[in-house]
């Protein structure tokens, strides 16, 4: 098992470095950074010009940077899945297509360690720029509002965002483990995004059951962010800790399935 853990770190390091240097990552991060900064600027401007927002108390608005970060988190619910799926959809299938998987599998490392190492590498490579960009977002929000923000809110904002992105990275890796071609993986990734954004919403409207929304990772993330940053009640479906647990479970469950699927594959 010692060799396997070492192998895991070798794979994670390669994925981390390779992703950080990739053109794909640069493009995605430039888009992400610009959109985050734009959201902060527009959010701050909006707050300075408008009165209280529907459903938010005047006290909440006075928090300044926290509410701007809440805007950012709502924006991440939309763009985050695309970002994460775009990075992970081919993490395994690429190895099959370029015929490098056999060379990797013949090294002293278990299949579970390969799958986990790849996830950790891609996760790390996404986490680093996201933490940097989001930290800049916090700093900018503080600067624009002229008010401070709690360390618990800042850390919570960063951690929850990473968990949410990790969820879609894990889903992307699961798709990649199942797919035989990169085209199939891309299409499945788009399908997953539509499923969570459109299909579940339609289903919720048709069934008039709010519980359907719990099947969308964005619901738990959004509920946690709302409670953490602007004190919005998460609703009656689950207590607040339930949403936190759900946010963690949403990342862990698809990751475990992805590892098991890859382990059982007979390449």
């Amino acid at each position: 098992m010692k060799g396997s853990w070492h192998g895991l770190t070798v794979i994670a390091r390669r994925e981390f470095v390779s992703n950080l240097r990739s053109v794909r990552m640069v493009i995605l991060m430039v888009i992400f950074s610009l959109l985050v900064l734009f959201t902060i600027y527009v959010g701050s401007l909006f707050l300075s010009l408008s009165g209280p927002l529907p459903g938010l108390e005047q006290d909440t608005l006075s928090q300044g940077p926290a509410i701007v970060l809440w805007f950012v988190s709502e924006f991440i619910v939309f763009i985050g899945p695309i970002l994460a799926l775009a990075l992970s959809f081919d993490v395994i299938v690429r190895e099959k297509v370029q015929n490098s998987l056999a060379l990797l599998l013949s090294r002293p490392v278990s299949r579970q360690a390969i799958a986990l190492g790849k996830f950790l590498g891609v996760f790390g490579s996404l986490a680093l720029p996201v933490v940097v960009v989001n930290s800049l977002a916090v700093a900018l929000a503080v600067a624009l509002s002229g008010k401070g923000i709690g360390i618990d809110q800042t850390v919570g904002f960063l951690l929850l965002t990473l968990l949410f992105l990790g969820t879609y990275l894990a889903i992307g890796q699961l798709i990649s483990s199942l797919a035989k071609t990169t085209t199939t993986a891309i299409l499945a990734g788009i399908g997953v995004w539509f499923f969570f954004w459109l299909f579940l919403w339609i289903l919720q409207v048709i069934l008039r059951q709010e519980v359907v929304s719990l099947f969308n990772p964005g619901t738990a993330y959004s509920a946690c962010m709302g409670a953490l940053l602007v004190g919005i009640s998460p609703g009656s479906l689950l207590p607040l800790w339930g949403y936190y647990a759900l946010t963690v479970a949403w990342m862990v469950a698809p990751l475990l399935v992805a590892v098991v699927v890859f382990d059982r594959k007979d390449e």
Binding site: M1, G3, S4, H6, G7, V10, R14, S18, R21, S22, Q98, N99, S100, A102, L103, L105, S106, R107, P108, V109, S110, D266, E267
Partner: protein, 315 residues
């Protein structure tokens, strides 16, 4: 206490749904051997190799490499093998040096030694000038060399090569052949799967022939040759200045001669199994006024052996 065989399989079987790709293969390859693994396309060579390298799990049976079970101790097996697949892909964004160092890292080789070994390997494989070039710029031959280097960077006990020279030009094939011999002299057991029969005939001490998932024969080429030759008629070709019908008729009447035919300035005589009539044929031709220019009795080459085994069984 005797050392474990380098590779040992017992009833090794792989099924994909209704298809039995490898059917109950049992063979032993001793340490220090160069073992050739032959078979037509789709015979089960690569599937067998993938089980030996632990990439694929057997459906039934066992495979041991250096005494370690491929199913129960895959990491121990992987520590001891080097594997070069028939089509080796690399990460195009890495240089040749970085690629070798990456693969070497799995074996706990310290970084200084990794760098040193990577440089040595690239020199040995004639890739020294391309050490800092990205792999995506490499030709097929260069990739094959890099795959070979990555298979031996950790100095394995057993080297498993799947069609290592496929698609290479003659100088590259010659180079690889020399390298395989060198490694074998250094004590590495070689398991070589190849379509190139001449290559196998030149470098392998023993061969195994697989067809439709079944191991048809395992032996030295010499033993298989004598087995094949003892069970088939022998063909003698006599080069002559000119041939007459009378001389041909005289040869035809020699006991043990099955058939005689002339092709331009050659007389082709088929003899019964075990016939010793070659000197009699020569004498008869001379007595009939025929000038003999050459006389060859063709031995079965590996192609004959291979075809005989896969067509009729050769166990």
């Amino acid at each position: 206490m005797t050392a474990s065989p380098a590779i040992e399989t017992r009833g090794l079987t792989k099924r994909y749904h209704a298809l039995t790709a490898v059917n109950a293969i049992s063979m032993t390859i001793d340490s220090g051997e160069i073992f050739g693994f032959l078979g037509p396309n789709g015979a089960g060579k690569t599937t067998t190799i993938r089980m030996l390298t632990t990439i694929t799990r057997p459906t039934q049976g066992t495979a041991l490499v250096s005494g370690h079970d491929c199913t129960r101790e895959p990491l121990a097996v992987k520590q001891r093998i080097g594997y070069m697949p028939d089509v080796a892909g690399f990460y195009g964004d890495m240089t040749a040096t970085a690629t070798l160092q990456f693969y070497a890292d799995f074996y706990h080789i310290p970084i200084v030694e990794r760098k040193q070994r990577a440089a040595e390997m690239l020199e040995r494989l004639q890739l020294g000038d391309f050490a800092d070039k990205k792999v995506k710029t490499f030709s097929r031959g260069m990739r094959q060399k890099l795959a070979f280097a990555s298979a031996i960077i950790h100095r394995p006990n057993v080297l498993i090569l799947d069609e290592p020279t496929i698609g290479l030009d003659p100088p590259a094939i010659h180079f690889f052949r020399g390298l395989i011999r060198e490694l074998n002299k250094e004590g590495v057991t070689i398991f070589l799967s190849s379509h190139t029969l001449s290559e196998v005939e030149i470098i392998c001490s023993r061969i195994g022939i697989i067809n439709k998932g079944q191991l048809m024969a395992v032996d030295s080429i010499e033993a298989l040759r004598s087995r094949i030759m003892s069970s088939r008629n022998r063909v003698v070709t006599v080069g002559v200045e000119s041939m007459t019908d009378a001389a041909a008729q005289a040869v035809r009447s020699i006991p043990g001669v099955v058939s005689v035919r002339t092709e331009q300035n050659r007389l082709i005589v088929e003899l019964e199994q075990g016939s010793q009539a070659v000197p009699v044929i020569a004498r008869t031709l001379v007595l009939n006024g025929i000038n003999i220019l050459s006389l060859t009795s063709k031995e079965a080459d590996l192609e004959d052996i291979f075809l005989a085994v896969i067509q009729g069984g050769g166990r």
